[in-house]
């Protein structure tokens, strides 16, 4: 495969030569297997002559043998094989991609041509998926997600090494930076300066130098297969969350679905012992299988989880056999939810999910939905992940906002919470149920039993609304909703005091406008405010020139944060 610089030169290029085999070849193997299974007896007869006669009247092989059509049959088979090969070759010839300074384009199809083009500054994330079989032959699929349902561009398949470097190159083009690829970014795939102490890949021999030492093809394949998901040269080791397999298994087992299953089991047990109806046990068996496969799938896909900051956004990796790892450029995360299952409370475990534009209705590697950024983590892990996810939104000035959002409610913790009369609707959570507005982010905190904190960067929110129905009006309450792109995170908080809700609504609308006018993340490195090539480091101080944090929502209905006079 050609060099990365050649691939991203604005000319048309073809994919990995094994592409047709990887995309459609598995079907061929399946058909061959089917044919073989059907002709098993006949082949056996050929090898071990015996007295065997087909019992059916119609047997195509018998027919062919009787009428001396063997040559014709072989010709037909040969023709079909040649045709398939020709179509595969032709589809490979006709499938090409081009990466220019402004857009990525893909042309494919033999009879029905499609030509898809995506603007680089609209990229929402680039995912590299390595399903098991392509991974074995050293190929990877590059998925470029743009906003919209299933609006992604797939480069399937590319050479595994070139895919990593190509992603870095596309992101660098998309960032708007004028920097050339430094050898920490694009050259990283070739240059392997290993850090043996890197925690990036628990359980894998972290010696990426192996592919270069072992000069055989097999050795290189093995080396790639075992190499850490994140290149140590790219990942900042101190920012990586370590995923403990034991914790992963325990958290999955302690989920609500298991709880429901236990409840069901108890009910079934009572039914059997009291009513003497062992029939109820039959309902349990499929449930056990279903739950078991669900748990195993969840655990396997979350194994070898990694997250790290790269110069072009946060990179999240998943998967044991089939792997996927995705880079999300800065400013592509529209909402973050940090939630806790009831049984996770004693261990202080949390899960982080996100809303992002450009969801794929097809799941990521091995069925993993690519909206769960942290399957399970301690409070410290969550804080580290949040700093990676929202580097421009969260910083020193509003760290206590997140900390308070994950704790029990306290007096003056920055949140505007429900009044006491809301206890009618929020029995246990009225003290916690609340909202806090910062200049950069709005935090919605809810739930006392199932705790959840939702953070929406004001620069990403689409609109805001307040609602009030008859029930809420009778209690002088109102509900607030922040609209973001569709996803698993719902940014709403109910049962606020009417006057509080009005004030927060007004301030949120103003903050959204102010944030949008100063937002430059669609070309995240092109903006002069940040020196080119500087990574959006976790927990970095806000860029120079920004106003100091304004604290919480300013009092007064029509107060507006001063808009940055800088033109967009």
């Amino acid at each position: 495969m050609a060099d990365v610089d050649d691939l991203a030169d604005g000319e048309w290029h073809r994919l990995h030569p094994l592409t047709p085999l990887l995309r459609g070849g598995l079907v061929m193997i399946a058909i061959a297997g089917f044919v073989f299974a059907n002709l098993r007896e006949r082949i056996l007869e050929l090898l071990i002559p015996g007295d065997y006669a087909p019992d059916g009247d119609y047997d195509p092989i018998q027919l062919i043998l009787e009428r001396n059509l063997v040559a014709v049959a072989l010709a037909v088979v040969l023709g079909i094989v040649l045709l398939v090969i020709a179509i595969g070759w032709l589809s490979w010839r006709m499938h090409s991609f081009r990466i220019g300074a402004e857009s990525v384009e893909v042309r494919r199809g033999i009879l029905f041509r499609t030509h898809r083009q995506a603007r680089l500054d609209r990229i929402q994330g680039i995912n590299i998926v390595r399903p098991l079989i392509p991974r074995l032959v050293g190929a990877a699929r590059l998925e470029i997600t743009v906003a919209g349902d299933d609006a992604n561009i797939q480069l399937a398949y590319l050479g595994s090494a070139v895919a990593d470097a190509l992603r870095a190159r596309i992101l660098q083009l998309a960032s708007g930076a004028q920097r050339r690829p430094v050898d920490g970014v694009a050259g990283a795939a070739a240059r392997a300066t290993a850090d043996p102490a890197s925690p990036a890949a628990p359980g894998a021999p972290s010696d990426p130098a192996a592919p270069l030492v072992l000069d055989s093809v097999v050795g290189r394949r093995v080396g790639e297969f075992l190499a850490p998901e994140l290149d140590p040269a790219l990942a900042a080791p101190e920012s990586v969350v370590r995923m403990d397999p034991g914790r992963l298994v325990a958290s999955t087992v302690l989920s609500t679905s298991t709880l429901m299953f236990v409840v069901f089991l108890v009910i079934a047990g009572v039914l059997v012992s009291v009513g003497g109806a062992p029939v109820a046990l039959f309902g349990v068996v499929p449930l056990v299988f279903g739950l078991g496969s669900f748990l195993v799938r969840r655990i396997v896909t979350s194994l070898r989880y990694t997250i790290a900051a790269t110069p072009d956004g946060v990179r999240v990796g998943f998967g044991l056999l089939s792997t996927s790892n995705e880079t999300l450029p800065p400013g592509r995360i529209h909402a973050v939810s940090i939630s806790q299952e009831l049984l996770w409370r004693p261990f202080d475990w949390w899960q982080v999910r996100i809303n992002r534009a450009g969801r794929s209705t097809r799941n990521g590697a091995a069925g993993r939905q690519n909206t769960t950024v942290l399957p399970i983590g301690t409070r410290d892990d969550v804080l580290r992940v949040l700093e990676l996810l929202l580097p421009d939104t969260l910083g020193e000035h509003n760290r206590d906002l997140v900390a308070a959002g994950l704790k029990r409610a306290a007096q003056d913790d920055g949140y505007t919470v429900s009044p006491r009369r809301a206890a009618v609707l929020r029995w246990f959570s009225w003290r916690r149920n609340g909202v806090a507005l910062h200049r950069d982010a709005i935090a919605l905190r809810r739930g006392a039993i199932w705790r959840e904190l939702v953070i929406v960067p004001t620069a990403r929110m689409q609109s805001a609304a307040v609602h009030q129905g008859p029930l809420l009006r009778a209690l002088r309450l109102a509900a607030l909703r922040v609209h973001t792109v569709a996803g698993p995170v719902s940014a709403h908080v109910g049962a606020l005091d009417v006057r509080d809700a009005e004030r927060v609504f007004d301030d949120t609308a103003a903050a959204a406008i102010a944030a949008a006018s100063t937002d430059h993340s669609h070309r995240w490195a092109g903006h002069s405010g940040r020196s080119a090539g500087e990574a959006p480091r976790a927990g970095a101080a806000p860029p120079a020139g920004e106003a100091p944090p304004t604290g919480n929502a300013p009092p007064g209905g029509s107060a507006r944060p001063p808009a940055d006079p800088e033109p967009a």
Binding site: S463, V466, G469, R476, T484, A512, I513
Partner: protein, 179 residues
């Protein structure tokens, strides 16, 4: 960039006091939709109400018992009450063009206020149903990247709707932001 003028301007809600249980985040003047929209809404409510009532009466056709007509009767009552409330409901729809966003309100019993920044608008749609067309009205729909924004201003006179659309597209262009 003067926003286009729209028909009636009236304030029908009681002025809110600090202790009022009603939601009113932005007191003041609202642009109201055309009173002709009352006709459109009335006829639409009537048609859908009659269809529902008729559909609910179908079981009665097979089982001739008086209580089989109960769902149908409930539907008819709901329809009459809804019809009676239509004029007030239409008068409660309002919008306001602020410097950087559009504020929208609707509902009396179920109140909803929404603020959509101009820069977030992805497209502006004008649609006209047969009833609305008969009385010269149109419906303006604002689409953002969030499906839940869902902001539709019904009952605008067609020339107002077009002027408003052009105005919104123009201001959206000057405030264009990323997603």
């Amino acid at each position: 960039m003067t926003p286009p003028s729209t028909g009636a301007r009236a304030s029908v809600e009681p002025v809110s006091t600090p202790e009022s249980p009603r939601l009113d985040p932005a007191p003041g003047d609202w642009r109201r939709v055309s009173p002709r929209y009352i006709v459109v809404d009335l006829v639409g409510t009537l048609i859908s109400g009659l269809l529902t009532t008729a559909a609910l009466a179908v079981p009665w056709w097979f089982v001739r018992e008086w209580w089989m007509l109960l769902p149908s009767a409930v539907s008819a009552v709901v329809m009459v009450v809804t019809l009676a409330l239509v004029p007030r409901r239409v008068r409660a729809i309002g919008y306001r063009l602020r410097d950087d966003d559009l504020l929208f309100r609707r509902g009396i019993l179920f109140q909803r206020f929404a603020a959509v920044p101009y820069g977030r608008m992805q497209l502006v749609d004008i649609s006209r149903g047969p009833l609305a067309r008969a009385v010269g009205l149109a419906e303006l729909k604002l689409v953002t990247a969030a499906a839940s924004s869902n902001l539709t201003i019904p009952g605008l006179p067609i020339e107002d709707a077009e002027a408003l659309r052009d105005h919104l597209v123009a201001v959206a262009e000057t405030r264009r932001a990323g997603l």
